[in-house]
Structures are given as structure tokens and as C-alpha cells.
């Protein structure tokens, strides 16, 4: 017998791991495990997938491939089976500016430019003088914007608020609502938790009152019923009345969101602030509110988004926001074509989605930036 050792085989190293079977890994494996694991699942996948493709294809076909992009109403009459984007482009100015006087529209452009620059500037972390820009956007900017849009000083002709409309109006109403409602809501929330009975009950009454009445009623009252109580000759702007109603309404909701944040804080935080000898306002500003507000950012942004969408209700008081403008434009008999109303609504939906989604992304960004380890 020869050397038995030469017969026996002793493996000295591990076999390198083989690839798992192609059907269990990667995309294919995932599909197999999740979508085609049983015959019933396979059937569901095929059916739903088919439905999805069919729907998406139909939407894309209508929105893009088969759409009319130029040529005015005649072109849309010829092809009513696709979106009529030429309707939007013909009236784009109307949808943005409403009935704002044409030679004065640069004022709207200027304000929009400053607004978006300001938002990005104060949002971008490495930008110089960020806090100053943020502060400017919060307090002086809305006032300046109102003055510039309304005119009447610096030789700017007055453009009455009844001429404002379209997307400009949507932005004005929502921004004023947002900017006023947050600080007011914080004060109301603090007031509601106050131990002083008058402040407590006033805030409580205020919040419950505004939460208890429908927004449509508030706007209707502000627009048409309040003037009946005013003495003749005294009349202040209709949009301003509506804005006040809007802001107070939003503030009541905001107050409850903020109160949720205040209650989520451990009692120890309040006691710690007290034990440091901080005054009420200092402890709120330095200890309580920074934590409470951070905890309820999603709720705050939720209220903002709701507010943004509620702006379409100004239709009630005879002001045409973006939706109202599209609404009115659809009625033009020259555009009485089957595809026009749907195109108009699609345009409004897309615009609103872009802005609401933008707000929600911005809130995520702020949340992550402020996430300093208290996340539960």
C-alpha cells in the first residue's frame, strides 16, 4: 500500500461560498419571494400590475403624448381626447396674477423673487447672515410685501385687493395665515396652560370658539355681515377682513398642536428651568419651547398644509384664487371644449401638489437638522 496519506483528502481551506441560486437573490429573488410566492400572489401581482400600467399609461397618454401643447382653442377642438395645455399657456398670466393690473405686475414678480430667495437663503445652512434673513422674512417682509402689492406710496399706483387673484392671492393668503398663526398659536397654547384664571379661560374660549365654527362661516361673516355693523364711511379692506378671520382660525388649530408639544415634555424640564431661577418667559424661550416645538414639527407643518389648501375657500367672498381663476376661465364659451375643464383641474392639482410636497420635504429637512438625539 502506498502512503495512505496520499489517498486521504484533507481540505485545508474552506470552499469559497457559492452564489445562492439566482432565483433566490437579487431583484429576481425579491420578486419571487414577495410577488410570486404563491399562485394567488402571482395572480394578484399580474392583475394589479396590469391595472397600474394601464392607469399610468392612460394618464401619461392623456397628459403628455396625446396632449395639445400649442395652437389655441382651435387645436383643442380638433383633438379633445388629450389635455389642452395651450389653454393653460394662453391664460398662464391670469392664473398667476389674477386681475392684477398689467403694467404693475412687476411688483408681484419682485415679491415672489424675494420670497423664494428668502426661503432658500434662510434654509441653506452655510448661507451668510442666515438668521437675519430669516428674521426679515418673518416680520418685516409680509408688511413690505403688502405695501408693495397694494401701492399708494413711493409713487406706486394703488392696486386694490379686489384686483388680486390667481396664484398670487393663494400665496398671500396662505403666507399671512402661516406667519400670523404660528406666534399667535404659541401664545394661545401657553395661555391655555397658564395658572392665571382670566388668561386661561380667555384663551380656552378663544380656541374653542374658532375651532367650533366652520371656516366658510367665518369668511362669509367677515366679508358680508361685518360691514352691516360698521358705520357708513368706515370700511376696511375686504381681503384684510378675510385674512384676519383666516389667521385667527389657523391660530386656534396651531395652539392645540403646540399644546400637544408642551404636554409631551417631562415635568422635570419645567422643574429644572425653575430650579435655575429662570423667569417664566426665559424658561419658556430657552428650555420649554425649543423642545416642545421640535416635537410637533410634523403637526405644525400639517396645519400649514391644511391652511394652504383652505385658501381656495376665498372663492366664497368673491376673490378668485388659483382654483377660482381656473374655474372662471373654464366658463369662457370660446373654450367650451371637453378636455378644458379636466386640464384646468389637473393644472391646479399639480401646482398644489408641488407646493404641499415642497412644504412637507422642507419640514423633514428641518426635523433632521434639529434631531439632536431626543428622537423617540
Amino acid at each position: 500500500m502506498s502512503n495512505p496519506r496520499s489517498v486521504f483528502f484533507v481540505r485545508k481551506e474552506f470552499i469559497s461560498a457559492r452564489q445562492a441560486p439566482a432565483s433566490t437573490i437579487g431583484v429576481l429573488g425579491w420578486i419571487r419571494n414577495n410577488l410570486f410566492s404563491t399562485p394567488f400572489n402571482s395572480l394578484l401581482t399580474v392583475a394589479l400590475g396590469g391595472l397600474g400600467v394601464w392607469l399610468i399609461w392612460g394618464a401619461l397618454d392623456w397628459l403628455i403624448f396625446n396632449a395639445v401643447w400649442a395652437g389655441g382653442n382651435e387645436a383643442c377642438k380638433v383633438n379633445p381626447e388629450g389635455a389642452c395645455w395651450t389653454f393653460i399657456s394662453t391664460r398662464f398670466d391670469q392664473f398667476v396674477y389674477g386681475f392684477y393690473e398689467k403694467p404693475e405686475r412687476w411688483r408681484v414678480d419682485l415679491i415672489l423673487l424675494v420670497l423664494f430667495t428668502g426661503i432658500f437663503w434662510s434654509g441653506w445652512e452655510r448661507a451668510p447672515a442666515r438668521k437675519w434673513v430669516g428674521g426679515f422674512m418673518l416680520i418685516p417682509f409680509p408688511l413690505i410685501a403688502w405695501v408693495v402689492l397694494y401701492g399708494g406710496i413711493f409713487g406706486l399706483p394703488v392696486v386694490e385687493t379686489s384686483q388680486w387673484g390667481g396664484f398670487t392671492l393663494t400665496l398671500v393668503v396662505s403666507l399671512i395665515g402661516i406667519i400670523v398663526s404660528l406666534p399667535l398659536g404659541i401664545l394661545l397654547a401657553l395661555g391655555r396652560r397658564s395658572k392665571m384664571p382670566i388668561i386661561h379661560s380667555t384663551c380656552l374660549f378663544f380656541i374653542e370658539f374658532w375651532r367650533g365654527v366652520p371656516l366658510i362661516t367665518v369668511l362669509f361673516m367677515a366679508a358680508y355681515v361685518l360691514p352691516l355693523f360698521f358705520p357708513a364711511g368706515l370700511n376696511f379692506d375686504q381681503l384684510l377682513r378675510a385674512l384676519i378671520g383666516f389667521a385667527l382660525f389657523a391660530a386656534a388649530y396651531m395652539a392645540e398642536v403646540v399644546r400637544g408639544g408642551l404636554q409631551s415634555l417631562n415635568k422635570g424640564q419645567y422643574e429644572a428651568a425653575d430650579s435655575l431661577g429662570l423667569s417664566y418667559w426665559k424658561s419658556m424661550r430657552l428650555i420649554i419651547l425649543p423642545q416642545a416645538l421640535k416635537a410637533v414639527i410634523p403637526g405644525i407643518v400639517n396645519t400649514f398644509i391644511g391652511l394652504f389648501k383652505d385658501t381656495t375657500l376665498v372663492l366664497i367672498i368673491g376673490l378668485l384664487d388659483l382654483l377660482g381663476m381656473v374655474h372662471a376661465a373654464i366658463a369662457d364659451p370660446n373654450w367650451s371644449i371637453r378636455s378644458v375643464p379636466t386640464t384646468g383641474y389637473a393644472f391646479v392639482a399639480i401646482t398644489f401638489f408641488i407646493f404641499c410636497y415642497g412644504m412637507s420635504r422642507y419640514s423633514r429637512f428641518v426635523e433632521e437638522k434639529l434631531n439632536t438625539g431626543h428622537k423617540r
Binding site: A331, N334, S336
Partner: protein, 342 residues
């Protein structure tokens, strides 16, 4: 402290009463001092008031406001528009937010008698009608027993429909939607046999159907909808001005005066024409305008017939031919009639 508060309160109350006591200068002088007429229109009704491609309001109702502006200012463009929902229109007028309401408003006894408002005339006679597919083989609304009808929710249209079917002992199924666009889409998709709304609305929505020629409008009109401008009841002079603006447009058409020949008609020798053109008499003073008020209306806006043809007539997308309908001049067998200017 309490005393101070009470005295402040009483001063405020007295002040309020004093100011409220010095109420109401006339609408006309208020309009003149602010430099424009605030006109309440619809939030978009084809042919009556809708923004055009340039962003200007246009339509039959809009032209009524422009005519008033021409009469007051000699310039038809001194009008600002407030687009109003059906719900808000009367409140807006009563609160003084608008000076005149030209918003396809049906003149009814209840509105005229109980709301403190005054209808100054009729600028369009509308009425509820039916549209069906030609393939249904129906020639009269009386053959619609058992049909399903598409219409708007919560409007008088719905009530008229119910009244009509009940009065004639017929059954029907109501398919109601919130907005006109939805109604027409549902009818087009075959959800119902009949589409019912005002005749002018049927005409406007018809062009949105896939094959407009496959449909026809039945001859029956089941409701009276006389549409007209409205003003507040507390200012007779302003109401007269509105009423005679409309009457001037109708009289001008009757006398054959239109925007192209109005300059030559100013030197016409016919006394009726002279009175309307203001070259004779001083009736204009009673309604507080210059003697060329009617001239300005016809020159800048047109007579009633011109306005009708421009916005809803046979050559517009609405194609509401005027001949032989109630909206023709009384001399042609219609109902458009105005008292004389004398």
C-alpha cells in the same frame, strides 16, 4: 376704574349712534367719488360673465355694467368686478360691497319682495330645458316617463324637474352632481338619458359633448327664468339709472341705432331719437347723468341686439339664435320691450 370704563363705553356707543345716524349719501355720488362702479358678476357663466383670454370680464351681464359705467362716466371701462357665488350675491349687494348685481339672477316674487332689493328689468329670458340623445327617439318631454335625468344638486333646476314630473304623473330617476362639468361628463358617458338645466346652459355645455350633433334640445321649457340686474331698494335714483340703462339699450335697438350709426343718429330729426340721444329734453337730469348718457352707452357698448349677438347669439359658440324666441324684440314677436323715453 369702573367709572372710567363705563364712560368710555357710553362715549363709544353715542359716537356709534351719531355716525350711524348720518347714514347713506346716494349710491350715484358715492360711485362718482370713488371713480368706478363695483359690479357683482358670476364666478364664470358662459356668455353672461367670464374672463376672456386677455383677462377682461366679458359677457351679457358684464356689458350691462359697462353700459352703466358709460352712462355715469362716459367711459365704459370704469367698472370693477366682484365674482360672486349664488349664495353670497344678495348679501354682497345689501352690505354695499357691490353697487349693482348683474349675475344671471332670476326675478322672483320672494327675492323682489323680501330681500330689500329691486330688479330693474330683464336682460335675458331663460328657462329650463331638456337635452336628449337623438337615438332615444323622444320628441317631447312628455315622453320621458321612467327616464334618468342628470342635473346639478341643490338648485331650483332640481326642484323644477321634480315638479314637472310629478305634475305630469311621470316617474324619473335623479342623477345629481355638484358642478356643471361633472353633469355634462356624466351625461356624455351615458349615465343618464336626459340632461336638464337652463336653456343657455344647455347651449354652453353642448359643445363639450363628444358628438354634439347626436343630441337635441326638446321643445318644452318647464320654468320661467327671467334674468335681470338687481340694485338695493333704498336708492330710487340709482335704481332708475340702472333701469333706464337697460331700457336705453333696448330702445336704441328698436329705433335702429347701433354703435356704427350712432354718431349720425345724433343729428336725426325724429323726436323719439332726439330724446334718447339727449339732443332734446332734460330727462337725463332726473337720473343724475349727462345728456349724452344714452349716446355713450350705444357708442361704447352697443344696443341690446348687438350685445346679445356678441355674447350668446347665433355666431357665438353658444349659438342661441334670437329670431322667433322670447329674447327677440317685441316688434319681432319676442318679449324684449322697453317703455319709451319721454
Amino acid at each position: 376704574m369702573k367709572k372710567l370704563f363705563l364712560s368710555c363705553l357710553s362715549i363709544a356707543l353715542l359716537g356709534g349712534i351719531a355716525i350711524a345716524g348720518g347714514h347713506e349719501k346716494g349710491t350715484l355720488s358715492a360711485v362718482k367719488s370713488k371713480g368706478h362702479i363695483q359690479c357683482g358678476v358670476s364666478q364664470g357663466l358662459p356668455g353672461f360673465s367670464n374672463p376672456d383670454d386677455q383677462g377682461n370680464w366679458s359677457g351679457l351681464d358684464v356689458d350691462f355694467c359697462r353700459a352703466m359705467s358709460a352712462a355715469v362716466f362716459g367711459d365704459a371701462d370704469k367698472v370693477k368686478y366682484t365674482p360672486l357665488s349664488a349664495r353670497a350675491r344678495f348679501e354682497a349687494l345689501r352690505s354695499g360691497e357691490i353697487d349693482v348685481l348683474a349675475r344671471n339672477t332670476t326675478w322672483t316674487m320672494q327675492r323682489d319682495a323680501t330681500l330689500g332689493l329691486e330688479f330693474v328689468g330683464v336682460n335675458y329670458y331663460d328657462g329650463q330645458g331638456f337635452m336628449v340623445r337623438k337615438t332615444l327617439g323622444v320628441n317631447s318631454a312628455m315622453e320621458l316617463d321612467g327616464a334618468s335625468a342628470c342635473t346639478n344638486t341643490g338648485t331650483t333646476t332640481e326642484l323644477n324637474l321634480t315638479d314637472f314630473f310629478r305634475a305630469n304623473g311621470m316617474q324619473f330617476e335623479l342623477v345629481a352632481f355638484e358642478r356643471a362639468d361633472e353633469v355634462v361628463a356624466a351625461y356624455d358617458a351615458g349615465r343618464c338619458d336626459v340632461y336638464t338645466t337652463d336653456r343657455s346652459g344647455l347651449a354652453a355645455q353642448r359643445t363639450k359633448l363628444s358628438n354634439p350633433n347626436d343630441h337635441k334640445v326638446l321643445p318644452e321649457i318647464i320654468s320661467k327664468e327671467p334674468l335681470g340686474p338687481v340694485v338695493r331698494q333704498d336708492d330710487p335714483q340709482w335704481a332708475d339709472l340702472a333701469r333706464w340703462t337697460l331700457n336705453a339699450m333696448i330702445n336704441a335697438e328698436e329705433m335702429g341705432i347701433d354703435s356704427s350709426n350712432v354718431d349720425s343718429k345724433r343729428s336725426d330729426s325724429n323726436p323719439a331719437v332726439k330724446r334718447l340721444m339727449g339732443t332734446e329734453g332734460d330727462l337725463h337730469e332726473a337720473i343724475g347723468v349727462n345728456n349724452d348718457w344714452a349716446y355713450n352707452i350705444v357708442k361704447q357698448v352697443g344696443n341690446y341686439g348687438e350685445v346679445y349677438e356678441r355674447h350668446v347669439g347665433a355666431n357665438t359658440p353658444l349659438q342661441l339664435g334670437r329670431g322667433g324666441t322670447v329674447n327677440d324684440l317685441w316688434t319681432n314677436g319676442g318679449l324684449i320691450y322697453a317703455p319709451p323715453v319721454r
